[in-house]
């Protein structure tokens, strides 16, 4: 019909509420993917991708559901979101599944979501906690760490991850001296640092967020001389952490989802000039989530969720040509030609089972104030 087709992508994130400081960057990440696709002009007869932001408020199911309904009413073809596990579950059960809408969450990692009746409509680019726990235990073990103190951000991500780290690390013979929760958004962490320090351990593993409580804990622990090496799971890995903490962080290590493909570095380069913080948590995942939706549409040659839902796993996993950030145009071309791709993206996406990221992991170490790659696991 003469006009280029329009694909509408809903971005449902908590622009207000507890993680309001993260979400603008996440949304920008997703919009970056959309813009890249639009610019390539290769999506379904050179369709333009319009993004529509809507607030999930992170902790307000009422707002989240209403926003999701609004996105649907405005004709969204897919939803990138939501963020916090609570609202994600609510939107999934009450809006997405009943309406047959595809949702890819960049950050909801609750194991409960895995088993939720989702009719094959729900995916997430954040890796499963179970797998990361294994990797972290191995990293710790290989570095000769015998005992750790463990603190987690008190939500489903932190809790699930810390459970998994604890059981895996104990399984390989390590000792966990203490497991202490911390709340995000409450500036004072003296009590937590005090308890952690008293329990002791070679390394303090912080299963939190690098710009929330996790940062406060690390700062407190360093300042008081309680710990000088930290174990950093994915939520803590990003360039802003060494920048904020300073040289004392050197020598700390951790892992983040990622594969040989160097997707993360590419993504960092691509996003460097933009006016958002690409090192903030879940920005890469957001990019990937948006990209996956669009790629799946291309693969199915349809913007109807019912059609492209089944293609999400296909484009995300092998076999096929590995795709890094910035190569979305190329991927669209391959798909249009009937080829196969293996989307890697910024976070080394690998979806297993009921649609969550299994992922290979990139072991990192902080050296000279930079996040450097040690090896891939």
């Amino acid at each position: 019909d003469g006009h280029a087709k329009e694909v509408k992508l809903g971005i449902l994130l908590g622009f207000t509420g507890p993680i309001e400081s993260l979400t603008p960057h996440m949304a920008a990440g997703a919009e970056m993917a959309a813009a890249e696709v639009t610019a390539s002009g290769k999506l379904l007869d050179s369709a333009t991708v319009t993004t529509m932001r809507a607030d999930s408020a992170c902790v307000d199911n009422g707002i989240a559901i209403a926003s999701a309904e609004k996105l649907l009413a405005e004709g969204a073809n897919g939803i990138m979101g939501s963020d916090c596990s609570g609202v994600t579950g609510a939107v999934l059960q009450n809006v997405a599944v009943p309406n047959g809408m595809v949702m890819i969450s960049p950050s909801a990692s609750s194991p409960g979501l895995t088993t939720m009746e989702d009719n094959g409509l729900f995916f997430r680019t954040t890796p499963s906690d179970a797998r990361q726990g294994e990797v972290m235990a191995q990293v710790l073990k290989d570095r000769g760490v015998n005992s750790i103190a463990l603190t987690y951000t008190n939500n489903d991500y932190g809790k699930g991850l810390s459970d998994s780290i604890k059981s895996n690390f104990e399984a390989v013979g390590g000792e966990v001296t203490i497991v202490a929760a911390h709340e995000d958004g409450k500036g004072d962490y003296s009590a937590e640092v005090g308890a952690l320090a008293s329990a002791g351990g070679d390394v303090l593993v912080v299963a939190g967020y690098l710009d929330q409580g996790g940062l406060g804990i690390i700062q407190g622990a360093l300042d008081s001389g309680a710990f000088d090496t930290f174990g950093l799971p994915d939520g803590m890995v990003g360039d802003s952490l060494p920048t904020n903490v300073g040289p004392d962080l050197d020598g700390s290590f951790g892992q983040i989802a990622g594969s040989q493909s160097k997707g993360a570095e590419v993504f960092a380069e691509l996003a460097a000039g933009k006016d958002f913080d690409h090192t903030s948590a879940y920005v890469g995942e957001s990019y990937d989530a948006a990209a996956l939706i669009l790629l799946a549409m291309q693969a199915a040659n349809s913007t109807a969720p019912a059609d492209y839902a089944a293609k999400v796993l296909e484009v995300a996993n092998a076999p096929g040509e590995p795709i890094n950030p910035g190569e979305l145009g190329k991927a669209l071309e391959i798909l249009a030609a009937g080829g196969d791709i293996d989307y890697q993206g910024a976070t080394g996406v690998e979806l297993i089972g009921p649609g969550e990221s299994a992922g290979s992991y990139r072991e990192i170490e902080i050296k000279d104030g930079k996040v450097t790659t040690v090896q891939y696991r």
């Binding site: 004072d188 005090g194 308890a195």
Partner: protein, 336 residues
């Protein structure tokens, strides 16, 4: 047995952070308690006033940093603080003029003021995010430590380190100065006494020729200054994020009430009680006891009364226990 190390560990992880956090709470509670004592209502917007004050200070700090102004080893924010205070005073007086004054003229009941402050809280909440955004803002600079754990260990040869951050020292010193000045002001100056008189008996103050609007104005100015100082010190020592300041409201209220609402002395005591109870009851005493007790008695477990998850719950449990035995707070409340 190693008492010295036990003492250092305790100081490092309990006393120093407790003092700093306690001072921040005390400064916040002072503001709440002054409003309660003089303007007669609990100001729910106090946390957000603190956020606003810190925000203005941060903006000015950035300006100073960008033109290369600095306070040497001390944070630049100290230079910006007076501007923050001025900005917050302006906001407080503006709010009073546009919002609260009307209700004062209507002789509205205190609980109406509480609800009004709820509305102000919502608005300020939005305003701060509108201006500086919801994100984390860092503005600390200058020397980080008065003494760092490593230096301390090197100096003393002890196993345990003792770290005192500049911001912690600054917090405590500032709090002491501010409190001393405030007490001098309230008890010795004419204006201070007129504020106490107004708090004691509004009508009689009027009949004595004390201008109520003046008293209210001074109160807001002092409270705005206190809020800004508390907000900035908290931001320097921890970090600035609008969301955290709303969360601070609860421990601040708890402090003010434990101490006895309306009583400045109580606010200070309350601040430290809440801060130390949060730290000590959830503290794992293992390390201190291991150092402090003979080896045979050294504990195996963590010796932690409650997990840190419940540190908030602890301050409230303490609050309720205090109220059960001392219904008006530790220091008889309601007297400025």
């Amino acid at each position: 047995m190693d008492l010295l190390n036990a003492l250092v560990a305790l100081t490092n992880f309990v006393i120093v952070p407790g003092l700093a956090y306690g001072s921040q709470l005390a400064l916040g509670a002072l503001g709440v308690t002054l409003i309660y004592g003089i303007l007669r209502f609990s100001n729910f917007a106090h946390g957000d006033t603190m956020a606003f004050g810190a925000m203005v200070t941060i903006l000015v700090t950035w300006l100073f940093q960008s033109v290369g102004l600095s306070a040497g080893p001390l944070p630049t924010a100290l230079l910006a603080l007076p501007f923050g205070i001025l900005g917050t005073i302006a906001l407080a007086l503006f709010t009073d003029k546009t919002v609260y004054r009307f209700y004062r003229q209507q002789k509205a009941k205190p609980v109406i003021f509480v609800m009004v402050s709820l509305g102000v809280m919502f608005i300020m909440n939005g305003l701060v995010r509108f201006i500086i955004g919801p994100g984390d803002q860092r503005f600390t600079d200058g020397e980080r430590f008065v003494i760092s754990a490593r230096t301390f260990k090197k100096l003393t040869g002890l196993d345990e380190g003792l770290a005192i951050k500049t911001t912690e020292a600054l917090t405590v010193v500032t709090a002491v100065i501010v409190v001393a000045v405030l007490f001098w002001f309230l008890n010795k100056t004419r204006t201070g006494k007129s504020m106490r008189a107004y708090s004691d008996n509004e009508d009689l103050a009027l009949l004595s020729g004390i201008n109520p609007e003046r008293v209210v104005m001074y109160t807001w100015m002092i409270v705005a200054a206190l809020a800004t100082i508390a907000g900035v010190l908290y931001g320097l020592d921890k970090s600035f994020k609008p969301f955290t300041y709303f969360q601070l409201l609860l421990p601040i209220f708890a402090s003010a009430i434990v101490g006895g609402l309306g009583n400045p002395l109580g606010a200070i005591a309350g601040g430290f009680i809440i801060a130390f109870s949060e730290v000590t009851i959830t503290y794992a005493w293992k390390k201190v006891l291991t150092y402090g007790l003979p080896d045979s008695l050294a504990p195996d477990g963590l010796v932690q009364l409650l997990s840190t998850d419940y540190k908030f719950a602890v301050s409230f449990a303490i609050l309720i226990v205090v109220l059960l035995f001392k219904p008006t707070g530790l220091f008889k409340g309601k007297a400025v």
